[in-house]
Every structure is written in structure tokens, then in C-alpha cells.
């Protein structure tokens, strides 16, 4: 162990910390580290491939002899399958394989009842239309509110409303005591919608057998979990399966393992001896591949006139369809004296939810931040001031300043005071995330005698820039330019890596990558020292050269001195260099939004978003901004447009396409000022924090607050559609007129 003193924190707010560094690990990077490649704005390595269309995604695979698979899906939310007849379909020339799933009941629209594989997409399409299914339609319920009713059809078991473990937190008694001491207590209901993941690349895979070995190209955010679940479903060993994910077209939490369609593709490929392609179509994407649950959040919050937040109480109901996990997180961003939350899953006849970029957070923050603004309004305090007063986190305190300056918060006018039909407004919201670095990821680094450097890990780059970050880390450690390092990702024959969920990937993969490179570096320098007859400690690696006391030589020449063809080290992330005492365990973020509302038509345009996001040490400012931009865009889309619409009568989805299910498009993109905020937290040897999810957490809250500021009325329900804006304005006008009437009456009384 060696002792090191680190300077942690952020500029203007740093502190020194002494840590013990294991002998075979590099000392953690901190504020003093002078990095040359890591932390620099390198464009992502595969950028050219992606923008020219040369990058091959799973959906682009076309293998010789490949066949195509698809499913017959129930149009009913709840039905009994009386008869399922594949005979006509199977007779169609070119139909090669089929499976029937004669489950007694289908319980959501979109559930598969049969699947087929055929020579071509056209034959497949014709064959699917020939499958005859006779359904006995049963009572269903697809809306959360309807499912809460006493006489609602039971979805599973007796009760539709369930409370899982951990879904009741805090102390109701303490919250009520806090409310009792408050000057203002508000009770409001906030609602959010079901959002589907809408990955541009659909779910699915291409399977090919060679003997008893299976290769699968998969659109997955967890190659190893995919391999495991697929092998288990097929009853083979994971060692027989190789999963390949070279490029990924979006997952957002919905692609963590092999799904029924992937298993079908593998079985069809085995049965026919031909590679099989099964990617979902857009309708199935919306129906069966996951979603973010909706929520009805009843909030009672209280505050003292001086701005001290007292009690926060939230009761929420939401549906994850047939699945669970519809709770919301109104995270402890602010220091309330007491909090209490009571959360319920409501079962409905709809496709199950899956993890979705910051599960439970955006919906919770939308309500929390709305309530904060309502309290601020009630006590006549600037909303930013209220947050500053109650936010204990030093990083966010600094971010409030940076963000307020960038958006021009001082321009903010009192709510509803913007004249004319086009009204501008400003809003703010904050986010909190955990610093999720998980041990267990392994990275192999190999230096060849020819001077080549290869870094390999079997997990995937889901678009977050993992490949580029790995190259940067290793290049930094070896004193090389980025281009000297080759990265291989997305093949399960390489060392293990976690699924990309919880924003763990970069923070978990960077420390072992650095450590593997560090080990190779030590061995390379030892070999050079032996060849030159000097001490390894007297040598250093910088700018592509080995520097000694007397002489220096190029990296390639140094590698030429290796006694073996190559040297190789595999490091696995472990507690030794991933859990140093850190500056903070929390990832902090703040966003400001400016909107323009057409108060006559109800349309909302987001003009500008400032997103200040704690990234730990910024791995790469371009990639960091790209993550922030993506989070903000998805957040705006959630705030204003996206919503799964199920027909109450049939339970079928009415907007299962990309025209009626509205995701924001190019014309809706505002000016985004993404400010990666660097914090040396010292937790791991590389200091990178979780960044994939947190930037989407506060956006909807900030936009909603800006809308309320613009129109002087609050829309408490997402998405903020024109009719909701118009209704809120009309309601506020009615209230104002009523209270004006009151005042006039009172005045008159006084006159009399």
C-alpha cells in the first residue's frame, strides 16, 4: 500500500483526502491530475461509421440463407383462445417453422399466440395473416383509474392494487407533525403518462448455428445476460453461445436479456439449419417491449413562511401493466424535516413495464418540483431561492449559480405576467442520482511486440461512448495517442462486463481498463529496463515514447524489446480501486428551461434548456454533452408529446406507430446548453460518474415549471398538451374572476 493525498471536489470547492493505494493499482485521478487523452473532447470512434451508414447494427444483418420470423399477436387485451389453427399458414410454400402458444388466456393486446419463420419477409407476412385464431373476448381493464374501481375486472389474483416491499417509506406521524407547524400546506394531484421506450432499432436478434455452437447478433444492452438467459431457455450451456453486439440502436432499459422472440429465432434456426432473423415491428415495440409506468401522485407538502421545507407526503398509484414496479421516486433532493411515501402498483391488461432511463425518477421529480414551485408561489419566494435554501448538496448549490447565469434567471418575471398571446417563462428543477460503479467488470489489455495495443471487453457500447472512453483511458495510462489503441467490444468471448443499466457502464469499466493498462505498462517498462540494463523506476511512458535517464525510444521500439510475442493483463474491477472514500456518493444535476407558450392555441415550444450535470471527472466533454443532450431531448419529449393511448373498449393501442405516438422531432429541438460539471469525487481510480440516466430526470419538471411561469396556471399532468394548457388558463381565469368578484364585493361593503 502506498499513501497518496488527493485533491477532491470541484473548482472553488476542494478538499484534501489521504488514501491508501494498493501496490498493483494506479493512484486515483484527482483535480491535480494533468491528463492528456482522458477527459479530452475526442469524437466517438465509430462516429464516421454511424453517420455514413457503414455501422452494421443487428437489424442490418443479412446472412446467406437467412430466414425471417414474426409473431401473431392478440388484438384483445383479455381473451381466451378457443381455437388456434396454423394449418393454412403452414401450407404456404416457404413457411419453414412454426410454434403455437396455446396458452388459455391472453392478458394484453400484443401478446403472441403463435410465431412463424419463412423464406422471405413477404411469405412471412402472408403466412401470419393466414393463422386462424378464435378468441373469446373477456372483460379487461387497461386504464389505471378504471382498474382502481371496486368492480373492475381482476387482472391477476383478487386485487388489482398491490403494494410491494419497500413501497411504504418514512413516517406519516412525523410528516403530519411537520405539516402542523407549517404556514402553508398544499395538497395537489400530479399525473404522468405511460411512455414507451421507442428505441429506433427495435428489439430482436439474428441466430446462426454451426454444429452445436450458436452465434447470435443481438440488439441488447447486456450481452452477457442475453447469453445467459438465451442458453437457459434453450437448455444449453452459455459456453456454446457467442453474443455479438457491435453497435446498438437504443435500449433505454428495455433490452436486458433474451426475450421470447430471441428464443424463437434460435429454435427456428436450429430446426431449419438456416440463420434466422427476428426483429420486432414498430407496433410490437410499443406493445410488448416495455414502457415507463404512469402515475397518479397525491402530494401534500408544507413549508414555513421563511422557506424552510417541512413535510412531504406522496401517495402514488401507477400501472406497470401486468408487471410490477410502478412506484415513483420523489428523491431526497431537498432537506424536508419529514417525508412519507406510500406507493401502489395497479395491475392492468397491458404490456409489462421495463426499466426505462432512470426508472421512477422523472415522474417523481415532475411532482416534487411542481410542488416546490407551488409552495414558493404560495409564500411569495423565488423558486430558485427556495431550492437554494433547502438543498444540502454543495455541488448542486454551485450548479444553481452556473445554470441561473446561463439561462438568465434574473429575467424571470412573476408567473402569468407575460403580456400578449406568446408568453415566455422560466423554470428550474434538480436531479439526484447515485454514483454507480459496480465491481466485477473485467478488461483485458494486450500489447504486441509490433507495438499494437488492444483493449477488449465483452459488453456493449449502447451509444454512450464506452468504446471511446476505453481507448482514452488506456491511451492515457500508456502515454499514447488515442489512435494507437484498438478497442474490441460486444463479443461475449471477451471478458465479462455488466449490462448497461443504472448508468454503471463507464464508471465500472474504466477502473479495470486503467488497471489492466497499468499492469501492461509496468511489464513493458520492466522488459525495457532489462534490455537496457537500467531500473524500471527510472523509465516513464509519455507522448508515445519511453523516457529513461540517458536515452529515450519510441513506444514501438520499446515493444520490440519484449521477450514474448505480446504481454497481456486482465484486471477485474474490485473494491481496492473502486471504493475509495469519496467526496460525494451522489450525482447532482440541475436544469433550467425557457419556454414560449402560445396561450391562445395552447402550444408549448421549449426555447432553451440549460443542463448542468455532475459527471464525476468528465471522461470526454463531447460524449458527456451528447449524453446530456439525449437526456434533455427525451425529457422534453416526455414532458410535451409522448403518451401510450390504449382504447378503453378493446384494450388495443391506438398509436402504436411513430406518427401518432409522438416523439420530439428535429424542429422541436431547442437550444441546449449542456454543461458537464466536473467533480473529482475520488471514488474510483478514474473518477467517472454515472451519466446515462441523470440528465433526463429533471427535464420534464423544469419544462412544466417554465410553462406555469409563462401562463400563470399549472398543468399537473404529462404530457403538457394544448388542451391541458388551454384548460389550465381558463381555470385560472375563472378563479381570478371569482376572487376579483369577491374583492369587489368586499370593497363595496366597505364603501357602504
Amino acid at each position: 500500500m502506498s499513501q497518496r493525498t488527493l485533491e477532491l471536489g470541484f473548482s472553488g470547492h476542494s478538499e484534501e483526502r489521504r488514501v491508501e493505494v494498493p501496490p498493483d493499482a494506479p493512484p486515483p485521478w484527482d483535480l491535480r491530475s494533468d491528463l492528456k487523452v482522458a477527459g479530452k473532447p475526442h469524437p466517438r470512434l465509430e462516429a464516421r461509421l454511424k453517420v455514413t451508414g457503414a455501422a452494421r447494427y443487428t437489424a442490418d444483418q443479412r446472412l446467406p440463407g437467412m430466414i425471417f420470423a414474426g409473431a401473431v399477436r392478440s388484438p384483445h387485451a383479455h381473451a381466451r383462445v378457443r381455437r388456434l389453427d396454423l394449418s393454412r399458414a403452414k401450407k404456404l410454400p416457404g413457411v419453414l417453422y412454426s410454434e403455437a402458444y396455446p396458452q388459455r388466456e391472453v392478458r394484453y393486446a400484443g401478446q403472441a399466440v403463435a410465431a412463424l419463420a419463412a423464406e422471405s419477409e413477404q411469405v412471412l407476412d402472408d403466412a401470419l395473416a393466414l393463422v386462424e385464431v378464435d378468441y373469446e373476448v373477456l372483460p379487461h381493464v387497461v386504464r389505471t383509474e378504471d382498474a382502481l374501481a371496486e368492480d373492475a375486472p381482476a387482472v391477476a389474483g383478487r386485487r388489482n392494487v398491490r403494494q410491494g416491499r419497500g413501497m411504504r417509506r418514512g413516517s406519516l406521524r412525523r410528516v403530519e407533525e411537520a405539516h402542523a407547524r407549517a404556514d402553508v400546506v398544499l395538497t395537489r394531484e400530479y399525473r404522468t403518462q405511460v411512455q414507451t421506450h421507442t428505441c429506433l432499432e427495435p428489439h430482436g436478434s439474428v441466430a446462426r448455428w454451426e454444429g452445436d455452437r450458436l452465434t447470435v447478433w443481438a440488439s441488447t444492452q447486456a450481452t452477457f445476460a442475453f447469453r445467459q438467459t438465451l442458453a437457459r431457455a434453450l437448455g444449453i450451456s452459455a459456453a456454446q453461445v457467442e453474443v455479438i453486439t457491435e453497435h446498438m440502436g437504443g435500449g433505454f432499459g428495455s433490452k436486458f436479456g433474451a426475450d421470447a422472440w430471441d428464443v424463437f429465432a434460435a429454435r427456428a434456426a436450429r430446426a431449419t439449419g438456416r440463420p434466422c432473423f427476428f426483429m420486432l415491428d414498430r407496433r410490437a415495440e410499443h406493445l410488448v417491449a416495455g414502457n415507463r409506468p404512469d402515475s397518479i401522485q397525491r402530494c401534500t407538502f408544507s413549508v414555513r413562511r421563511d422557506g424552510k421545507l417541512l413535510g412531504a407526503q406522496v401517495t402514488s398509484h401507477g400501472t406497470a401493466g401486468l408487471g410490477r414496479g410502478a412506484g415513483v421516486l420523489n428523491p431526497a433532493i431537498y432537506a424536508f424535516e419529514a417525508t412519507y411515501s406510500d406507493q401502489y402498483d395497479v395491475l392492468t391488461h397491458a404490456g409489462s413495464a421495463r426499466a426505462f432511463r432512470a426508472p421512477r425518477h422523472p415522474q417523481g421529480v415532475f411532482a416534487l418540483e411542481g410542488m416546490l414551485d407551488e409552495l414558493a408561489e404560495a409564500i411569495g419566494m423565488d423558486p430558485l431561492e427556495l431550492r437554494r435554501k433547502n438543498d444540502p448538496h454543495p455541488v448542486r448549490q454551485a450548479q444553481y449559480d452556473v445554470g441561473a447565469e446561463a439561462i438568465g434567471w434574473s429575467r424571470r418575471k412573476p408567473s402569468g405576467s407575460s403580456p400578449g398571446p406568446l408568453k415566455r417563462g422560466l423554470g428550474v428543477a434538480a436531479a439526484r442520482w447515485a454514483h454507480n460503479a459496480r465491481p466485477g467488470t473485467a478488461v483485458r489489455c494486450r500489447i504486441g511486440r509490433d507495438g499494437s495495443v488492444l483493449v477488449a471487453n465483452g459488453s456493449q457500447d449502447i451509444g454512450t461512448g464506452t468504446r471511446t472512453i476505453l481507448a482514452q483511458i488506456v491511451a492515457e495510462e500508456l502515454g499514447l495517442p488515442l489512435a494507437a489503441v484498438e478497442v474490441r467490444l460486444g463479443r461475449t468471448r471477451d471478458p465479462y462486463g455488466h449490462g448497461s443499466g443504472g448508468s454503471v457502464t463507464a464508471p465500472s469499466i474504466a477502473p479495470p481498463a486503467r488497471r489492466a493498462a497499468y499492469a501492461c505498462r509496468q511489464r513493458l517498462l520492466a522488459a525495457v529496463a532489462a534490455a537496457l540494463g537500467c531500473e524500471a523506476e527510472s523509465l516513464s511512458l509519455r507522448e508515445g515514447r519511453v523516457h529513461g535517464a540517458e536515452r529515450e525510444l519510441s513506444f514501438a521500439a520499446a515493444c520490440g524489446l519484449l521477450p514474448t510475442e505480446s504481454i497481456e493483463a486482465t484486471a477485474t474491477g474490485g473494491p481496492e480501486d473502486m471504493s475509495y472514500p469519496s467526496f460525494t456518493r451522489e450525482v447532482a444535476g440541475v436544469q433550467f428551461a425557457e419556454v414560449e407558450v402560445d396561450a391562445e392555441l395552447g402550444t408549448v415550444r421549449v426555447v432553451k434548456v440549460v443542463a448542468v450535470q455532475d459527471c464525476g471527472l468528465v471522461a470526454n466533454p463531447l460524449l458527456a454533452r451528447s449524453q446530456i443532450n439525449g437526456g434533455v431531448l427525451q425529457g422534453i419529449s416526455y414532458a410535451l408529446h409522448e403518451e401510450r393511448i390504449l382504447d378503453a373498449r378493446t384494450g388495443d393501442m391506438l398509436n402504436a406507430n411513430l406518427l401518432d405516438y409522438k416523439i420530439l422531432g428535429a424542429r422541436e429541438v431547442p437550444e441546449i446548453v449542456a454543461i458537464p460539471f466536473s467533480v473529482a469525487n475520488g471514488r474510483t481510480s478514474t473518477g467517472m460518474s454515472s451519466l446515462g440516466e441523470p440528465p433526463t430526470v429533471p427535464t420534464a419538471g423544469a419544462v412544466a415549471n417554465a410553462v406555469a411561469n409563462a401562463i400563470g396556471a399549472r398543468v399537473r399532468s404529462l404530457p403538457i398538451t394544448p388542451e391541458k394548457v388551454l384548460a389550465a388558463i381558463a381555470e385560472a381565469e375563472r378563479t381570478r374572476r371569482a376572487s376579483d368578484g369577491e374583492k369587489k364585493k368586499k370593497k363595496k361593503k366597505r364603501i357602504f
Binding site: P75, Q122, D125, D126, A129, E600, L601, G602, T603, H641, I645, D647, A648, R649, T650, D652, L654, N655, L658, L659, D660, K662, L664, G665, A666, R667, E668, T721, P722, E723, L726, A727
Partner: protein, 320 residues
């Protein structure tokens, strides 16, 4: 989609003759038709492709049915003489669709009603079954606020109201026969099997749209409200053309889209303006008149409010 025979027509009369084949449909660019084929909402045995028909030398007052929306949007003469059409064509759909989609296809396109576009859903217009939007619990948010009968759909074309306000006529062709109709007469009330809501006879095609430039057409405007700027249809659209003489409205035409099963000529608005000065008062009165006949459904009352406000804005723009 079901497999079909594909016929490429050389001329409108030839296309019309080819359409005598039972279960055949005309296809222009296919930007609307292809979606319907893929969803198996229509399953024709044959498609007659119009898109390769040689276009006649263009005459400024004659717009070929095969003109693309992009061509209309970029045409200087249209911009000058028919600003409402220019605006409608420029805003419609997406650049990609405007580059391919044709005027004829736009006028004959099929409603965006989600029940109509889902094979198997209940829909009066598709097969005479009860209207899914009007059934209890049905989705009617984007639907009609006027003239709701057995079908409640909103007409999707944004070019149609602009052209109606401009007094356009359509030239139809059937074999060697031709006839000319006022554009509003092209549209017929919803009837089962008549997906595009057009009163064309079997084999009849839209060949051209006829326009006459006038002081009224030059003083025209088209405004629409949609939820998303990129890639979307209007929730309400308003087109108006006004000729003012000595400060008074000498002639006026107003039409709206997306508020009724057919593009809707707004005669009550026209009546409220004719002969009066175009001022804040008459405009307010005209906008009020616009929604007098509106009968919103359960969840689309906001469309009447938006219609009212768009009418005010459109007419304000024509005050000169």
C-alpha cells in the same frame, strides 16, 4: 401486405381504363397508400401506378395532380397569386414526403383515424361497423367537431381547405371523359368502403386542379395548429381569401381542415364578413360564427377554441 399486380400507366385515360379491373386502386407516390397496404386496411388485387405519367406542359392555372407538394411550395407564381396554397404546401408533412407526395394523392388521402387504419377495429367508414371513435370509451380527441354522423373523422388534407378558399376546381378523368367540379364537391359524406371520402366514379381520377388568380386569391392565408412542428398533421387548419374594396369585404371564402369528415367550407364565417369592413369587430363576429355549428365530442372541445382563435389570426392577416 397482400401481393398485388402492378400496372404502370402511361396516361390518365389509360390509367382510368386499367382501373376497370376489379379490386384495383390508383397509386401516385404511395406515401399514404403504402401504409394502408402494409396494415392490410386495403388489399387491392392490382395497383395502377400514376407516377410515371408524362405531365402536360404546365399552364399557370392548371396544377397537375402529379405535382409534388415540394413543387407547389417552391413555385414563385403560387407564392405570389395563391399564398394560402403556398403556405399549406410548405408546412405539410415532412421534407421527404413533400418531395414525393402528390397533389392528387393529398386531396384523396385517407383519414388518420386510428380505428380506420387498424384492420379489425370497429369503423363505419371501413366496413359499416359502429364508429370506434364514437363508441363508449373511444378515442375522439383528434376527431371532428362539425358534421359528425355515423363517422366522426377529421379530414387530414391541409391543401384541400387552402384550395377551397382559393375557389379551386378539379378536373376529373374517366376513360376519355372529363368533367370539372368545384373542389368542395369532390368530397362526399362518409360511406362504408369510401375511405378517401371522394365522390369519384369507378375508374375516375383527379387529373388536375384549376385555379384562377384574382385580387382575392392574392389576399389569402392559411394557418394551422399542430402539436409537433416536425412530422405531424394539423389539429385544426383555417384558410381564408378576402377581396376588399373601399374598405369592405367584397368577396370572401373561408374553409377549414381537420374539423369535419370533409374539408369544410365555412359559409357562416363568410356571411358574417361579406359587405362589412374587415375590422376587429367583424373579425370577432366571424370567428364566433365559426364555432356556432360546432358540436365537439367528449374530448375535443379544445378544437373549437383553437378554431375560433385561428380564424381571428387568419382574418387579421388579411386586413392589409
Amino acid at each position: 401486405m397482400r401481393s398485388f399486380a402492378y400496372l404502370r400507366a402511361e396516361s390518365f385515360p389509360a390509367a382510368s381504363a386499367a382501373l376497370e379491373t376489379p379490386e384495383s386502386l390508383p397509386k401516385a407516390a404511395g406515401t399514404d397508400l403504402l401504409d394502408l397496404l402494409k396494415e392490410r386496411v386495403v388489399e387491392p388485387a392490382a395497383l395502377v401506378d400514376l407516377s410515371r405519367i408524362e405531365r402536360a406542359q404546365s399552364d399557370p392555372g392548371v396544377l397537375s395532380a402529379l405535382a409534388t407538394l415540394a413543387e407547389l411550395a417552391e413555385d414563385e407564381g403560387i407564392r405570389r397569386d395563391f399564398p394560402a396554397l403556398h403556405a399549406a404546401a410548405r408546412q405539410a408533412a415532412t421534407p421527404q414526403i413533400r418531395n414525393r407526395g402528390t397533389l392528387g394523392g393529398n386531396l384523396c388521402q385517407v383519414s388518420r383515424c386510428p380505428y380506420l387504419r387498424r384492420a379489425g377495429a370497429s369503423c363505419f367508414k371501413r366496413d359499416g361497423s359502429p364508429c370506434g371513435a364514437l363508441l363508449p370509451g373511444g378515442f375522439d380527441r383528434t376527431h371532428a367537431i362539425f358534421d359528425v354522423g355515423p363517422c366522426a373523422c377529421a379530414h387530414p388534407s391541409s391543401l384541400a381547405p387552402a384550395l377551397i378558399a382559393l375557389g379551386a376546381r378539379v378536373r376529373l378523368v374517366r376513360g376519355e371523359e372529363r368533367r370539372v367540379l368545384a373542389l368542395e364537391e369532390l368530397y362526399a359524406p362518409p360511406a362504408p368502403g369510401r375511405l378517401g371520402d371522394v365522390a369519384l366514379r369507378p375508374g375516375e381520377l383527379v387529373e388536375a386542379v384549376l385555379l384562377e388568380a384574382s385580387p382575392r386569391s392574392r389576399n389569402s392565408v392559411y394557418l394551422e395548429m399542430r402539436e409537433r412542428e416536425s412530422f405531424d398533421f394539423a389539429l385544426v387548419s383555417v384558410a381564408a381569401a378576402v377581396e376588399l374594396r373601399e374598405g369592405r369585404v367584397r368577396s370572401v371564402r373561408v374553409a377549414c381542415g381537420a374539423v369535419a369528415p370533409r374539408p369544410r367550407r365555412m359559409r357562416e364565417v363568410e356571411a358574417a364578413l361579406r359587405g362589412r369592413p374587415l375590422d376587429a369587430e367583424s373579425i370577432a363576429g366571424a370567428a364566433d360564427a365559426a364555432r356556432v355549428a360546432a358540436r365537439p365530442l367528449r374530448s375535443n372541445g379544445f378544437k373549437a377554441t383553437i378554431l375560433h382563435r385561428l380564424c381571428v389570426r387568419a382574418l387579421e392577416e388579411l386586413r392589409q
